[in-house]
Symmetry: C2
Subunit: 442 residues, 2 copies
């Protein structure tokens, strides 16, 4: 089960509907193609990760105006009766080409192209921008954390500070897609089948008469699932109590999974805590750390030699704090067989239905992409956009989240090292085909 | 109608439920008080605006575990049967004190305090942090835009780039609460009764054979509701076409509302466009501007003398881009009549049930706040936290969004000028009462 809820066609900017009304009146009902793409690199980003398509396809298949939604529009007094009368019959009947979720992509490349009667294609704009933009933004941020963590486990702790609760669901999914091991978000676990993780907060420790009593009580309840939070009062004393209870657990045939640090100088503390645990014969007990981690702080801690086995990653990644939005747009590129484009300064668009071709180098790594017209064939390069919907119906079942995750993992493994840098900006080569360039001159 | 949807108790971090299970087993069922507060100022912020309470109270009144939710928890294998058996009976039965929505507040001050049996109070943590934190974050950002705009109208255009679709709803509500005139978000209009606004995108202009034809077609459909987007090809030529159609509208007894700029040097363009309109005898036609506006860009344009009458405010405000999260926490401050606190470095909490008192100066402006114990009485100062829920039921109907908006407007009008600065950090005086300080020593 992956559909959470119906959004409905009112989840849109008003102008999509006023434009639709005008198109209706003027019989502008020919087919249009719109292209969804990111205009510029967000700060520090060298690549982006496509995500959000499953939600899009689910919503397109159930796109329709409900009676109360039409009544609301009628009450606004903006719309003529004949237009309101056509709304109950509107479905999405078009065709969609899209990058599969988990595909690495770059600014300028279409992530998705919709071809449909103009009104249908127009009404989707806000929904598509929001859904693909946000999920891709977070998947891209999470991918950077995966690079920084160098194989250590990452767990999504962001729900309390995501921008709303729905955002927390999409964040959990995008982080898992990028390779995170688990999420604290229980509903995301239920909906997406992601492993859930979490043990105790500071309030738990303070609800007992002592830290030692709190750890013992937790161990009794969860003898093989415990991670003790050790910084409520004094981290090193907390580590000693944890070791004491950990040894008792061992004697009873159980095992403490780990301890968690959540404040202070975590690099220095992690080394001291590791020693306390090792000296107690608890070398298998892991050290978890949480509190303000993102790709920069993870990389910093690890380069300082922190003894941290897994990171709880929260707020800064869950809102993509250093780049909290992506400059994603949805532009008409063809209407009624006429290629169209916009010339506003800094906002030019490429006319025509397109395809993105990717060429690998002899070592199998990404070498260059070519944006071309859709009907071109670029020798030795693979087309990335797939036709996923025709006549308003999905052409095949959507891949599972596990399969998407594996796809992304393969893509990341063949990304050149310079493009994987989290601090330095490197531009991956993306060219335009000769025919696409020529099509812009007409 | 203001309730959009049920979130349900699985919208939480797993550790809230594992802690609850352990409390259950150890019969830790005494009453606890948790305090929700912002720990530190977000960058550049001098004040915050309370928002999100209506959503919180609605969800608390309907808090219960559904059968499929309990089945999911059971299948995790983490929880003992007797704990699972107690879940269907759990309701929120506690008491809530809260700052009314629209109240200006400062770091350290409780926004909300919950007193309830420990398990109930604990299970709410993630939901409360997310809901109050995000809505207050955006209301605070929007308030800064209101200050910068100095009375000009602001319109929410953010839906396409908010962090998810639900975020778009909460953003629209928080912006309206702070004084925005309208939103482009149609569903927010329907749910919250906010005025909706929007006319045309670039794709509309390009769907016609010419800009002039596009404007004429729109004017025909919406003879008294038109704002023409004039930057698709050349802004000044677009302004001349708009003036031409605007004059034709006038001759037919209608009126063009405005033109919109969305790219380029908007200060310079706005002056030239204003002149084109004025020279055509269209001085009543307004100039709207959109594209990357936030409080800084609004203030910059106005101080450069831009002839802009209203701003469409989108992405940067809808995600609070310069401060996309707030350091909000929910800490146990009393348990079973024992005051409790956490001592982690940089994360200390104030024990005890509290009240915030506000003192005004002789001119009626905010002078200082005092955080005190709840049962104190601070002479000449007004208590801000109101008891809004008792026994799990709201004590009165929630104020309307219009009333909340008026409340905020009054609060903003008595905020000292230095605290209203959008660029310089000034700290409003917040003190602790003697009794509250003394209570920390026990």
């Amino acid at each position: 089960m992956t559909i959470f809820r119906r959004y409905g066609p009112l989840f849109t900017d008003l102008y999509e509907i006023t434009m639709a009304a005008s198109y209706w009146t003027h019989r502008l009902d020919a087919e249009a193609t719109f292209s969804l793409f990111v205009r510029n690199y967000p700060p520090k980003r060298n690549f982006l990760v496509a995500a959000g398509l499953e939600d899009v396809l689910n919503q397109l298949e159930q796109f329709r105006f409900a009676e109360d939604e039409i009544q609301y529009l009628k009450a606004s007094g903006l719309f003529p009766d004949d237009f309101l009368a056509c709304l109950p019959g509107i479905r999405f009947s078009g065709e969609v080409y899209a990058l599969p979720e988990g595909t690495i992509f770059f600014p300028g490349e279409p992530v998705l192209e919709v071809t449909a009667p103009l009104i249908e294609a127009q009404l989707l704009e806000t929904f598509l921008l929001n859904t693909i933009g946000f999920s891709s933004l977070i998947a891209s941020k999470a991918a950077r954390c995966m690079i920084a963590a160098g194989g250590r486990a990452l767990i999504d702790f962001s729900l309390r500070r995501t921008q709303g609760l729905d955002a927390g669901l999409h964040v959990a999914r995008s982080m898992y897609l990028a390779g995170f091991a688990a999420t604290s978000n229980v509903l995301a676990g239920k909906i997406y089948g992601i492993a859930v993780s979490g043990t105790m907060a500071h309030s738990y420790v303070t609800a007992f008469n002592s830290e030692l009593e709190a750890f013992s009580a937790y161990a009794e309840q969860f003898p093989d699932q415990s991670v003790f939070l050790i910084d409520t009062f004094d981290t090193l004393q907390g580590a000693r109590y944890a070791a004491e209870v950990g040894r008792q657990m061992q004697e009873k045939g159980h095992a403490l999974i780990g301890v968690r640090l959540d404040s202070g100088d975590m690099t220095a503390l992690s080394k001291k805590v590791r020693k306390i645990l090792d000296d107690a014969g608890l070398s298998q007990v892991k050290v978890f750390a949480s509190g303000g981690f993102d790709e920069y702080k993870i990389a910093g801690a690890l380069s300082d030699g922190a003894c941290i086995d897994a990171f709880g990653v929260g707020t800064k990644v869950g809102v993509s704090a250093d780049a909290p939005y992506v400059d994603i747009v949805y532009k008409m590129v063809q209407f009624n067989d006429r290629k169209v484009r916009k010339l506003s300064p800094g906002k030019a668009t490429l006319a025509g239905q397109k395809q993105v071709f990717r060429r690998l180098d002899p070592q199998g790594r990404l070498q260059e992409d070519v944006i071309a017209l859709r009907d071109e064939d670029i020798k030795g390069a693979t087309p990335l956009l797939e036709k996923v919907m025709e006549g308003g119906r999905c052409l095949k079942p959507h891949p599972s989240l596990e399969a998407i995750r594996e796809k992304f993992s393969r893509e990341l493994s063949i990304l050149p090292e310079d493009i994987k840098s989290i601090n330095d900006h490197h531009i991956y080569p993306v060219h335009l085909s000769g025919r696409l360039q020529k099509a812009q001159e007409s």
